[in-house]
């Protein structure tokens, strides 16, 4: 089974983001990590590879810094990594990125001579929770799409995925090629070992520039973007709440209930 995993590098999502004086998000000092949902996607892909054989290629759109993200992926299951790095890609919206990923898929298939059976994406990115890239990629590729899966298996040419629902899950089946978007599975992504980290360090992470993709650049980048952010704001701050901290905790509880009664929420 040939697997492509699309990943995005994002600011650590456990850090609260504020705006800089110029009104843009202040993310420069926040650690860059692989989008949490993409780490779930890679883990699921790796388990599938371990079960049925094959290879995993990871790809990401971004600047030089995505090397680090891709290196991490190489240390936890990926066999090959490529980055879509070109000044012409800057400012692409999700549709532009999906187009780049679709072209990269074709380019990679030509290079290896092996078509991808499955394309994994995270359900959404934690920096911009749009959940669009995987769906748009499926559409551009004319491939099947299963969103929000929590497990996957492959047998006799049939891909079978568990798609989470409010009360359980759907078992959705399809044939390759297919795009899946991954929600949090029941298991945690594995950690790299010292050995796997060292091995990943030695592996190449080549850039695929625009010229290689057989497109002229009018469909990607800021000028082609169909969505544009005009400004950022911070959500209105909640007025500072009341903190009760009595020595006697029962007293605190009684005060709390009295306040809830006053606020008419009981």
């Amino acid at each position: 089974m040939e697997i492509l995993v699309c990943i995005k590098q994002v600011p650590d999502d456990s850090v609260e983001v504020h705006l800089k004086p110029d009104g843009t998000p202040d993310i420069d000092k926040i650690d860059k990590v692989v989008n949490a949902f993409d780490t779930y996607a890679l883990e699921m892909a790796t388990r599938l590879k371990e079960a049925v054989g094959g290879e995993i290629t990871v790809v990401s759109v971004g600047g030089d810094s995505v090397r680090d993200a891709l290196k991490n992926c190489l240390s936890v299951g990926a066999d090959h990594a490529y980055r879509l790095t070109d000044p012409a890609f800057a400012g692409s919206d999700t549709l532009g990125k999906a187009l780049l990923l679709a072209r990269a898929k074709t380019w990679l298939e030509k290079k290896s001579g092996k078509p991808f059976d499955l394309i994994f994406c995270g359900l959404m990115a934690t920096d911009r929770p749009s959940g669009q890239t995987g769906a748009e990629l499926a559409e551009i590729l004319g491939a099947g799409l299963i969103t929000g899966i929590v497990d996957i298996s492959y047998k006799d040419g049939v891909i079978s995925a568990q798609q989470e629902t409010d009360s359980g899950y759907n078992v959705v089946e399809t044939a390759a090629p297919c795009v899946v978007t991954v929600n949090r599975p029941a298991y945690d992504p594995r950690y790299p070992t010292i050995k796997s980290k060292l091995a990943a360090k030695k592996m190449p992470i080549d850039a695929i520039p625009l010229a290689e993709l057989g497109m002229d650049g009018t469909k990607v980048g800021a000028a082609a973007a169909r969505t544009r952010t005009v400004s950022f704001t911070e959500p209105p701050k909640k007025a500072a709440g009341i903190k009760i901290n009595e020595k006697d905790q029962a007293e605190s509880a009684r005060k709390l209930v009295a306040m809830m009664v006053k606020a008419k929420v009981l």
Binding site: D13, S14, E16, V17, H18, A36, T94, L95, A98, M124, T126, D127, P129, S130, G131, G134, A135, E136, A138, A143, I146, T147, G148, S160, E164, T165, S167, G168, Y169, N170, V171, V172, E173, T174, C178, T181, N183, A225, R226, T227, T229, S231, F232, T233, K238, G241, I242, K243, I244, N245, Q249, S252, A253, L256, V257, M259, M260, A263, V265, L266
Partner: protein, 332 residues
């Protein structure tokens, strides 16, 4: 464009014969966009056994209800519904298409946007019109930042609406006309098949609809202690919520998860018990109207968004709280 594109096509997802909450909420959003442009709201329902849902939507301030039923549509069918919506968009030529940002609908709008080479904004919490163009407010970074987005170079505007962001429309006295349409979906566009639908939990956990949510975090200490959260929820007629670590520890089923990889809730009252307030959790409950937090760590970030917080041990505070609430209930 030779035609006037002013209408809003609003897809109302139906589950168990009822419109899902955000399906109704987005009609409020659709109404305001349509009114600003002098256009109409066309609500679309797809599935089977839709009669009750259609009736509800027809009385929700829309101009027309378009119904596509097929006995084969017993569960949400991604490929078929995408194709049905594509046909309806070609036929009715709306300016704006809205869908709910739900676990099943999440792929519809972006797929259609790619099909129509149009722009799509996701997780919209509000929309306004400025100088004739729509400005969509969307969330970033776990909701700690909001972005004003516009769609350009695009005939159509697609948007997915965040659950709990708009109020449901009031029931109107007159019902909108209902149009039943059959759409033949080309077989070659159907690539996935739902083989089985598995119900893991017997009870329906309707967190998004809940008036009161009582949620517990790892600070509850153990599965045994977590039962107190359930008891308080029962006492208040609320629904139990939980953070991701609690789900991972198996104290309660995944259906109860609130936050980034769980549900987005906005109840009238949210009681956070032993929850520190990680951004991944807070993004799912920050729009609750009244937030109560109980945590032993005075510096827990949950206190920054709580209306009232108690610094203390949940195991000591919750029992007294419940006793007090019971007293009030018997007095009333």
């Amino acid at each position: 464009m030779d035609r006037e594109h002013k209408d809003v096509l609003a897809y109302v997802e139906v589950s168990d014969g009822k419109p899902v909450n955000v399906g109704l909420e987005l009609l409020t959003c659709a109404r305001s966009i349509a009114d600003g442009a002098g256009g109409k709201v066309l609500a679309v329902l797809i599935g089977s056994g839709l009669d009750a849902a259609v009736k509800k939507v027809a009385a929700s301030g829309v101009d027309r209800v378009i119904v596509v039923t097929d006995p084969a549509y017993t569960a949400f069918r991604q490929d078929e519904y995408t194709s049905v919506l594509e046909r309806l968009i070609r036929r009715y030529e709306p300016a704006v298409v809205l869908t709910g940002n739900t676990s099943l609908s999440i792929g519809l709008a972006p797929r259609l946007a790619a099909r129509f080479e149009s722009g799509c904004v996701a997780d919209v919490t509000s929309v306004r019109r400025e100088n004739g163009r729509l400005i969509w407010l969307t969330t970033r970074y776990c909701g700690t930042v909001l972005a004003n987005e516009v769609i350009t170079n695009s005939a159509l505007q697609f948007a997915t609406v965040r659950p709990g962001s708009f109020s449901k429309p009031e029931t109107s006295k007159t019902a909108a006309p209902v149009e039943k349409i059959s759409v033949a979906v080309p077989a070659d566009t159907v690539r996935t098949k739902i083989r089985d639908t598995v119900q893991k939990i017997s009870e329906t956990v309707n967190l998004e609809d809940a008036d009161v949510v009582v949620a517990g975090g790892r600070g509850m200490g153990s599965a045994e202690n977590f039962k107190l959260v359930e008891k308080l929820a029962a006492l208040l007629g609320g629904v139990v919520g939980a953070t991701r670590p609690v789900i991972e520890d198996g104290w309660i089923s995944r259906a109860h998860q609130v936050g980034q990889s769980g549900k987005i809730v906005s109840p009238r009252l949210y009681i956070a018990c032993g929850i520190s307030g990680a951004t991944q959790h807070v993004t799912g409950m920050t729009s609750s109207r009244f937030i109560v937090a109980i945590n032993k760590d005075e510096d827990a970030p949950i206190f920054e968004i709580a209306n009232v917080g108690v610094v203390g041990d949940v195991m000591k505070v919750l029992p007294v709280m419940m006793e007090e609430i019971r007293k009030i209930k018997t007095e009333a």
